[in-house]
Amino acid sequence: MLESLRDKSEVALSVKSLRYLLLDPNEMEGYVSLYKMQPIKRQTIITCMATLKKNMADEDAVCCLVIGTESGDMYILDPEAFTVQAKMALPSVPVYLDVTGQYDVEFRITVACRNGNIYILRRESRRPRYCVELGSQPVGLVRVNKNMVVGCAQDTLHCYTQKGKKLWTVFLPAAITTMAGMDHAAKGFQAVMVAMANSQVHVYRDKHLVNIILAQDVVTSLCFGRYGREDGTLIMTTKGGGLLIKILKRTAVFEEKDMSPGPPLAQSIRLNIPKKTKLYVDQTLRERESAVAMHRTFQTDLYRLRLMATRAYARVLEANLAPFSSSLSEPLKMNAVVQGIGPCFKLTLNLQNTSANQPSINLLISFMYDENLYSMERGFFKLPMLVPGLNYPIQTVVDCRSDKGVADTIKVFVLQVGRSSPLLTAHINMPVSEGLVVA
């Protein structure tokens, strides 16, 4: 019989009996005779305590003591006689307790246990009503209004409803050392404070991080409430034995800044997008059905366009109509600037020989213009030798003969002695002469 007890004990035994089972058979007799006169008692250790209002909700009303023990039992003691008024059994050892309600009316005890479960007990129930499986060991339990916030050993904070439904989870940067509630009645502010191994204390309102307190040392206990004359005082003790007192500023506001990771707020704002029209839908369908054909047509057109552009470019080059010459013998570049408001304009041609080392000689400049509109000092002249790389500004004066506010283009040709086609051509769009109007 003793063997079967040793293998698997289904009966809870006292410490003395357990000891007895451990002894060698020859010591057993002596042990029994030593203790046989004393009654066998099962003693246990208190693991957590809380208070429960007896029948009034007032701040200072009479409370019953609620005790959780190492043996996995919960006791509610009568405040006057200290007799056990109710006893409830739990499947594991309770470590954190939260109690609401009144003993005589209705109450609810939330217990976080060492097996990583949370049990919710109600009045008139000897066994738990709801059970929440946490997935890791609980390291703190705080009630905010009707919801439970539980800190877990996996650096997480979970929130559950009274009935054990999970509302949210927050991931923390370090292991939790302690947790406490923060209830500022005057401001109507309720939050959960979580102290962590990285010496920070985070304040969460719902799942939003609203404040971070940096302590010099790891905070091991927290308490928020009235201290002396100040309502909003936070008292903390630290691992190294320090005591910190912080007073909440009267003007403090807690804002839900985007400190918690997750989708940014902008993501949830609905944009005002107009409805899709029939035309749009038809077009989309068509695009989906005949995508290949469309792509081909587009490619053909693109090739055509490129061909046309190349042809036009080649023609320009052949006719030397461009303001630069790429002929190997005489590579030249020219640009023209018109200055003045009229009727007299200054026309500056900047000519540059872009060849590496070959000077240009025997070049001529010729202008072509409407003689009724413009007159020029010299319509045709010879250019000096152009040394490679240097810029030659050549200035001429153009007079506008009309006061009708019309303008025309002047064509500039750079010619070479002995060649019939020009090397370069430039079209200068003359501005309207405003000089007469001004004068």
């Binding site: 005057a186 100040e230 007073i247 003007t251």
Partner: protein, 186 residues
Amino acid sequence: MGLFDKLAGWLGLKKKEVHVLCLGLDNSGKTTIINRLKPSNAQVQDIVPTIGFSIENFKTSGLSFTVFDMSGQGRYRNLWEHYFKEGQAIIFVIDSSDKLRMVVAKEELDTLLNHPDIKHKRIPILFFANKMDIRDALSSVKVSQLLCLENIKDKAWYICASDAVKGEGLQEGVDWLQDQIKAMKT
């Protein structure tokens, strides 16, 4: 002001009136100080925490003071700023034995000094480091250090230690305030 009043003013018969705000945390002794400054027949015996604020009057040799004795309790402190416009001088009372709440007093003082109605006003501030009789009360020098009074550059200020229960140190402060107000008016 009627002609008679003006005449009386010239002749020095009627005293100039000044409005003073009395500010400071709850339990610092504001009401006790003001009560002490009143003529002995007008003084009350038991002082209770002020609710909201109360208006008191007292006279010195040259001036007639109207004091807004504000409640220092947290929930009434937001009333203070509504009277900033009217105040021509401020008396700020500190409980020099309440070391823990010195930060709160500093916070309230800073809020006061940065308020738009006060910030650009050259208004004299008289500080009473009150309850100097309590055994480990801080000295007025220490209080002025903790409140960083040396940072107040654009206002005249003065701090004196006081014991409002016995009435010590009060006259010194009020004399300073009277000189400041007189200097300001002329």
